[in-house]
Symmetry: D2
Subunit: 338 residues, 4 copies
């Protein structure tokens, strides 16, 4: 039994982590912090956890608790102030914010608007996409859990980039459910505004852009350009990213499929399917990838539940690898289907 | 051509008023106030009005504008401070807040939590439900525009109350779209919270309760009890209120239908139909009423678009009567249907 | 390890059963029938099961398979033709249709429009609501799994009926997600029709009415009247039933709460809470009950996921009791929360 | 007063036509056909029209009615059999199906799967997008009303194509509300399937592809390639198409904006705006176009109500031009806004 904690337990990703960890067979969720809820029982703030989690929020994680790993589920900029002390105490870290995702501190500064405060751990961090970086994750001590959109796009795009069949230029047209935007009410997330609409936002300026670019660079072996257009759709959970790439060689639809099948055929959570479906994966850590070839263009779809494979489920998958547990432990169930 | 103004033009009911008035054949919408948007063009704040309304928000309505009537679309408690000056200037008023709805100032104090500040105009105000109080509205100078839930319930309930066939005890199970709650973001209206749920709120304490009670008393001729349970459903526009009453005499389903048909058969905007439908009325000033008799209980449905017949459309209908215009002017179009 | 099968595996309740059973620790799902899909792999028809279920649909359940229990997830009228042979082979049965729910064959004929064809097993059948009939279910061989609306209403209503505090007259205003209507496309379930609407249907004639009545009779100890008005709301999963009862004795809100707390305080899956929430239970076998007292009326809310606690999850819970397994086995996880 | 008729009056576009025409100041809607509803009052089949339309469906349009124009709102393949007789009778035609959209009969055969049966009228037909082909429409006798997706894409794409600033290669990522798929229930439109999902379909094979291609060819002056990926989103009305084009010259974001402003600055129904919004245009004949430049890529958004500017509203706009009425007659109202 390993002991873990969560810093920032009241947001949607923190709450989803506790949902998954409270029934994980090898994990004791021993501590959760929350500034505004310190002292309060977790299951009072999140009644759906009643009967599953009998701890209270604390102000801080204490050294004395003997934690093996801590999830940091705070806003960007906060995590990098928390991680050094955790590492000094020998605790492994999975950070769900953007703080450790971009390897280049200048990129971080450009996209997040402030300097990075923990270059040391940044240089050691591993990007937490198990299907692509599994071996590195097994030895990692700081893992940067990928963004939800980024996961959907990178899973869809990287196999073709690796193959050399396509140019290193990708258009990612992302459609996300509203839970991806977090629990703070705002005009854009107000039901009368978004409940019967599709709303583009942060066009060309969304922070998942450099994450996708970093992955494309790596797999394409050259400098890439990613045009990322996120759009809010009126569903609670789920992302479908439609990724457009141009073939630079003659390749049939079957050639393209073969590449994906080879990449994901043996994976537990990522599946190359004919009809990628949000309903098939929602509530689970599964992701669907699909593709169609139209003339010289491939459109590849990446589909997942933004709170599970797009956030907390993937974080648990990373944790399993880091702690030497079975990779699928606590996550091995099908999506809702309907 | 009559000139009108709106105090509080940025909220959903103010914005909906301007949508209806900007194409009204007999009305010039000459002034709109907004504290936070004073000086800004209305069509910049509400881009869907571009080409239809070429005025800017002002801080206050000025006497000099020669307005015939002003709509007050402010929060409860504000209207009763604005109305006396308008009346002193000889301007007629339709108040869309709750300030002039309850005839008894003690009831007002009980439900709104503060004393009423304008007893004079309160005593002169007319409850703005044209299908039930048409003749009074023609001579009215201050009209209290009914609440959205209240309109749906009173239309469904009052014919049977008048008939004496049912007890003066009503259960109103209301289901409302989210635009009824206004434009301010909140947890309950946050899409991830309400987008795939049905949420009861203010059970037994919603301020439309005494409005419905007042109407039931009037038509039943005795003191009534109304149990009102409002529930949020994930649609943007629309209310369906299911109203349960007990028959106190033997009456067939046809007897009940005959009462409704007699009441609404000649109405332009209220229709007694077999299958009341939100989609049939949405976007329009039409309302549907339906009924079914189950044993000794009648369930009567009241259906409308909460922003039109439940708020701004009804306010325009009242205005038409007050200004001697045709009652349906500017409102006479069918609902969206789909 | 017990072996079970499903007759009628392609509908929503059959598919949901396989979702739950494929990860049940004590169960092998060994057989599923489907007339139109016989011979096809289950995970081809329901791709979300890929990796979890490696069987194919068959035309019929064969005796040779040594099944301990079979779920019948066929339309009403079919089940009663399948059950006798299963019982003859010594196989226990959980029927998810309405065929074994009404103890009185005359009631069955009245509400379902044809005679009952299996009076023998009907007389032995137990109504599968574990929180109310647990001890009987442990020895049952034929279980009638309750309807989704009925479960939500009976959980909310029965404690008060037992207490004698309320009259045996209940109004049940039910709001259901669309998956409750099954997988066959129809006008009412067509997204443009129901996607932005609330639609009453089968008012006073829905077949869950006599189920609720039967339970109320049993707990009230007298003949009851249930007025049941089902309404479709645009969510995929979830039911909220608002149940109205009249107090016949002086009782405070606290008195009422105490009754519910006593009834459900020790239950694993049914919780009496202040704010019943569809999102808290969706995807899980949990149900919420809440209540508010308004004057002399109690409104009690019953909330659940119609496909889990309202259908397949409850069926698995019954199976666990019938086979001597732990009651919560395979079901013990929190709802999605968000 | 002009007299018009509708062939195929029961589908969504036929019903929407009647909604618009029944309050059109210069039009008498004198005839509507429907095979399955012949003899029935239109307002019985479409109750939202009660009080607005007092005619009954007929089997056929009769010559004797003296119609000036007929809308054909039948499935593809039917229209081309109806049009010749109408033209022989001297009646002008707006066809809402795809039969007269593709100028090249070989293209028609390729995409629709059968030969074109009315080459004569095909050669005379005008593509009914008033903002781009206004002068031709004034003299037209047969108008091919554009597809909903096609309208949204062509409005967004054509100004840049004309400018020569971009390559004649476009990716159109379309998101459509469900009413675009028509009134026939199907698995994909079944609420439990699509109500909480985003569903790609007909990728690369949707029949609006050659329509968009035809327009791009025309404005680019060269042979184009259009990759069109339609996706269903869970809203009833509304389309947002995100169109990706590559700049082939140095051009700033302002240069791009200037092109759109010049194209649409004087238009009544098409507006170039900073934040294109489905809610702003829904229920109206207005469309929004927006654009953002990301590196060397322009993403242009086309937004409209698929049943109004994407179908029946645009058809009425064409009719106005064909009959010498004011172009905006009967259509000149703002969208719902909320």
């Amino acid at each position: 039994m390993k002991k873990v904690g969560i810093i920032g337990g009241t947001g949607y990703t923190g709450s989803e982590l506790s949902r998954l960890l409270c029934v994980h067979p090898d994990i004791e969720l021993a501590a959760m912090t929350s500034r505004q809820n310190a002292g309060r029982k977790v299951s009072d703030a999140s009644p759906f956890l009643k009967g599953y989690l009998d701890i209270s929020f604390t102000e801080k994680i204490s050294d004395a608790e003997g934690l093996d790993l801590v999830f940091v589920a705070t806003p960007h900029g906060v995590a990098m102030k928390e991680v050094p002390a955790l590492r000094d105490a020998g605790i492994k870290v999975v950070d769900l914010s953007g703080d450790y995702r971009l390897r280049d501190p200048k990129q971080y500064e450009k996209w997040y608007g402030h300097e990075h405060a923990d270059l040391d751990n940044l240089s050691k961090s591993v990007y937490g996409l198990p299907e692509l970086f599994r071996s590195k994750l097994k030895g990692a001590v700081v893992v940067a859990n990928p963004g939800c959109y980024a996961t959907s796009a990178i899973l869809a795009v990287s196999p073709l980039m690796k193959s050399g069949l396509v140019d290193a230029h990708v258009i990612v047209d992302g459609k996300s459910g509203t839970s991806g935007a977090g629990m703070a009410p705002s005009q854009r997330l107000h039901h009368p505004v978004c409940g019967e609409s599709v709303i583009p936002y942060s066009v060309g300026s969304h922070r998942h852009t450099p994450e996708i670019e970093m992955a494309v660079d790596m797999f394409a072996g050259s400098s890439s350009e990613v045009v990322f257009v996120p759009q809010l759709v009126p569903i609670v959970r789920g992302i479908l990213s439609s990724c457009y790439m141009r073939l630079n060689k003659d390749a049939s639809s079957e050639d393209v499929s073969a590449i994906y099948e080879k990449q994901y055929g043996a994976e537990r959570f990522v599946h190359y399917v004919k009809e990628p479906s949000i309903r098939a994966v929602v509530g689970s850590n599964h992701a669907h990838v699909g593709s169609e070839t139209v003339g010289g263009t491939v459109v590849a779809f990446g589909v997942l539940d933004n709170l599970v494979k797009g956030a907390s489920g993937q974080a648990v998958q990373c944790m399993n690898l880091m702690l030497g547990l079975e990779e699928a432990a606590g996550l091995d169930a099908p999506g809702l289907g309907v």
